[in-house]
């Protein structure tokens, strides 16, 4: 159970980290390019810590978990695997994730598993910085020009139905509560709503009313078509040259 939990944590961080790394070299400005690459680096580092824990529990290496699993074996939320879209869409997705991740990691520092608690404490410091930046950027773009506001409104319509899955409880989550590993994801809902409402209103964006949530990523039941394409790029080297070292 701990292994599966760490896998869900690791997959979210790794997949979002890889998505952000796709901006490296093509960011809208040098500073933004560096910021996205640095955030990607933090997330990939966190993903590695979680996947190492998952690997210890499941008897595999972190690298094998990252590079030799196909999309159906990934346990990330659908939100993080979505294509980047434009810069605004990337930052809005980052904000929705950060607004969940920071309170979630804080909650995990009380885990019955010391490993979970220490990885969460380490990651939370980085997540706080990510949230500060993604929230500021969402506000700057939403409350920017007519064009940037319209683009953010479009990104919001696209991303919104993918946000709910982060906080939907599954049987696996309930089992983790029993074992004291983690609280229910739904326990973060109030804090997420508060952060999102506050930032979207400052960003001159209207909070959507729909509560419909696409789901299936965290259970592995159904990923979006996008994950397989992303993994094909991410995994091509180790799969073309198995066991390669340099």
């Amino acid at each position: 159970m701990l292994g599966e939990f760490a896998l869900r944590q690791g997959d979210n961080a790794l997949v979002l980290g890889h998505r952000l790394s796709e901006w490296c070299g093509v960011g809208p400005a040098l500073e933004e390019d560096i910021a996205l690459a640095n955030t990607a680096l933090d997330l990939i580092g966190q993903g590695k810590l979680w996947l190492e824990l998952a690997g210890e529990e499941l008897g595999q290496s972190a690298d094998d978990l990252a590079f030799l699993r196909d999309a159906h074996a990934y346990r990330c939320a659908l939100l993080v695997e979505l294509p980047n879209g434009d810069f605004g869409q990337t930052l809005l997705r980052e904000f929705f994730f950060d607004a969940f991740q920071l309170p979630w990691l804080h909650a995990l520092t009380g885990s019955s598993s010391p490993r979970v608690a220490e990885i969460a404490a380490k990651s939370a410091k980085e997540a706080a910085y990510h949230l500060e930046r993604s929230a500021e950027t969402v506000i700057a773009l939403g409350d920017g020009t007519e064009d940037s506001n319209a683009r953010m409104a479009t990104a919001l319509r696209y991303l919104w139905p993918y946000t709910g899955e982060l906080m939907l409880d599954t049987d696996a989550d309930r089992a983790c509560v029993e074992a004291g590993i983690a609280p229910l994801p739904s326990s973060i809902r109030g804090e997420w709503d508060r952060i999102v409402k506050d930032v979207l209103s400052q960003a001159m964006l209207t909070l959507p009313e729909s509560e419909f949530a696409h789901q299936g990523g965290r259970t592995g039941a159904r990923h979006t078509e996008h994950l397989g394409h992303m993994l094909a790029t991410m995994q091509v080297l180790p799969q073309s040259h198995p066991g390669a070292a340099w």
């Binding site: 560096i34 990607a40 680096l41 810590l49 380490k122 410091k125 910085y129």
Partner: protein, 149 residues
């Protein structure tokens, strides 16, 4: 027989691979040195994804090996690294090198080049995970700020 103080003295000579004016001890990543039957050096990462960490572990091992010390490097995550562990010597050397040291207030006190307090943030991120980009409004020079973590 080497003692713990000897090991610390050797570690003082191991520079941070990204910011060579400070040592890995100044950076605060060396958490413990234990000399029993074997030598064990406990290191904690700065940022989870910092690529310098594996280099730091390798540099420590190499520096000790050069002095005939065969050490085991142990990574420890908890408690998480904080910039509060930067030594005063390290902070002064950072500033001398042109990198403003971290402050709890969230930004640099002054420009490391001309000491003006008229400084502005350019970006929350910089050339390495531990730095942000700032600029001085007086001498107009850009500079790195060591992020407070």
């Amino acid at each position: 027989m080497v003692g713990e103080a000897d090991i610390w003295a050797i570690l003082e000579t191991v520079p941070d691979p990204e910011i060579p004016v400070i040592s890995v001890v100044d950076l605060g990543v060396v958490r413990n040195v234990a000399v029993t039957d074997a030598v064990e050096v406990t290191v904690t990462p700065t940022y989870s994804g910092c690529p310098a960490m594996s280099v730091i572990a390798m540099d420590i091992e190499t520096a000790l090996a050069k002095q005939g010390v065969d050490a085991r490097i142990v990574t420890q995550l908890s408690p998480p690294w904080t910039t509060d562990w930067l030594s005063d010597k390290g902070r002064a050397r950072l500033e001398g090198y042109g990198i403003a040291p971290p402050r709890a207030a969230g930004g640099p006190e002054r420009c490391p080049h001309c000491q003006s307090a008229n400084v502005h943030r350019v970006s929350q991120f910089g050339s390495t995970p531990c730095k942000a980009q700032w600029r001085c409004g007086s001498c107009l020079e850009p500079f790195d700020y060591f992020k407070c973590l």
